[in-house]
Symmetry: C2
Subunit: 327 residues, 2 copies
């Protein structure tokens, strides 16, 4: 019976017919619990996402579920309960509920992972996030650093020289990839980054609002801002507009992600589009390849997906530059 279902070619047409007839008649469906027990695999992956309320991650999630379903895997969702990942990860993982782990949250202390996933490289764990991770893990990310440099260059090409930044989350005190890319571009252009033009952030609209308040209090203001993501940019836009600042007349802003409202905001957001769907799909495919034995990496493999500059209405030529060029 099992044979007829899983390896039909090893069974006579006669028996096969009889089996499928019986399946029809009784409405048989396989019992996954029994199968998992016997096969020692759950055909399920666990996805840990920092903040599912964030539309950025929900799109990724959509792709993850789609790709997994296509390959016969279920998707379990975990959100963080408490601060000790060991607790809930163990709860799913070492209890045979999931075969692999898809981690979209670099802020997890990876050192704290329970035994199985801790052994790096050859392990059913794929990380997908914006941060630098010390080697050995399988990584699927976008080209954050290069993309941030490209974004900043866009501002520079527009004639801006007084450029500030709304920062993103920093893990372990290191500047993140996007900040690094920003600094690359500034350095290459011979521009200086000013500490009073750096507004710390955490990818929320709230931090954009705080950034706007700091900006408004400045004597000497930048003419452009590189924002860690679209939401912090929207927070900034919203608060600064309420105080009479008009974008892009008074300040040029570039964001990151290209979230769905980006093109219907006012002004429409100039931003670096992140291939979110692709990110989720590829991360899942990578994990599943490892589980299926297709890929057996002996060290961490790193897939990098390209971002794309989307120019809309929130950036414009710097007014002093405009004058200089005679516009």
């Amino acid at each position: 019976m099992s044979r007829a279902l899983s390896a039909p070619e090893k069974v006579s047409g006669d028996t096969r017919a009889k089996v499928s007839e019986a399946v029809e008649a009784t409405g048989y469906t396989i019992n996954q619990a029994a199968r998992s027990l016997r096969m020692r695999e759950a055909r399920t992956i666990l996805v840990a996402i920092p903040n599912m309320g964030n539309p950025f991650y929900s799109t990724i999630m959509d792709a993850v579920v789609g790709e997994a379903a296509e390959r016969g895997y279920g998707v379990l969702v975990a959100n963080r309960l408490g601060n000790d990942p060991t607790q809930w990860l163990r709860d799913y993982f070492s209890s045979n509920r999931a075969d692999g782990l898809l981690l979209f949250d670099a802020s997890l202390e990876l050192g704290h992972l329970p035994e199985p996933p801790r052994q790096r490289g050859a392990l059913p764990l794929v990380l997908s996030c914006d941060e630098i991770i010390d080697g050995g893990f399988n990584l699927v990310t976008t080209d954050n650093r290069a993309a941030a440099e490209r974004a900043t260059r866009h501002l520079i090409e527009l004639g801006h020289t007084r450029i500030g930044q709304i920062g993103g989350r920093q893990v372990h005190q290191f500047p993140n990839e996007r900040t690094l890319g920003f600094q690359d571009a500034m350095r290459k252009a011979g521009l200086t980054t000013r500490p009073d033009w750096y507004f710390p952030g955490d990818h929320t609209m709230a931090c954009g609002i705080r950034a706007a308040d700091s900006y408004l209090a400045l004597e000497d203001r930048p003419t452009a801002l590189f924002c860690a993501n679209d939401e912090s940019m929207i927070g900034f836009l919203s608060r600064s507009r309420a105080h009479g600042i008009e974008c892009p007349r008074d300040i040029s802003l570039i964001g990151f992600d290209d979230i769905s409202i980006a093109e219907n905001y006012w002004p429409p957001l100039t931003t670096m589009r992140q291939p979110r769907h692709e990110l989720g799909r590829v991360a899942t495919a990578t994990l599943l390849d490892i589980l299926d034995g297709t890929t057996r990496p002996n060290q961490g493999l790193h897939v990098i997906l390209p971002s794309q500059l989307i120019i809309r209405g929130s950036t414009a030529a710097c007014s002093s530059h405009r004058k200089a060029v005679g516009q």
Copy 2:
């Protein structure tokens, strides 16, 4: 051993100590597959969501996962593959991968459900959506109809009499709850709804854009619009502004949901806030109560959560009314 873990009170302190010592020493964790097989329950629920990319649903999802985890349940995510729900529902459900189903998508043909969930009422199925469902199913929804009436009344109280509508998805050709509420308010105020002021929609920004195009082509325009949700409202706002329409000077707009950008859009959105987190939490709790046997409904139970009117900047007194009142 099993006893010491699941019913510690029925075991002597001595044995209990020995067992927990052994657990420590060997790093034992329970095998869920074996447990599921034996207990005939997966301690997992399946969540079907129409569009996870939509921030409205991702917040709900967050609440679902939190509540389920708290009660020791895992959450499997399904997205729709193809149009036959039987196929993938069966795949999870009757195969013992999930004990119950949380459905956030009324557009599923419920008649097509596989056997177990089809028997209504006493079944491990909880529906949570905006639509009217013919009785018998367990339902957790917001007070859509009353909320839509309240929203429309807000417009009317502002002096608007020429009110149009951007519609939402309609299932089975029936007007949905929000449309019904809108009509209630109009009727009670003795106002007429005009077919050329009804713009069909599907809760996307794209449909808001189409609505704006239709609106712009109108000879005789409404002074206010009741929008099925915030995203369609944002689409309308974006397109109409590009054509010189200013909100709320030229038109008042009220939305539905209070998505996170709502207060940082320009103008800030007046909207009916939906208790999304609560919706997810209560729907999950209801399903889990059924699974645990706490609730054993013999017919469908219906939990209704209240919405809340959030007045911001997208609605204003009707200009003709303003004149009349001498403002």
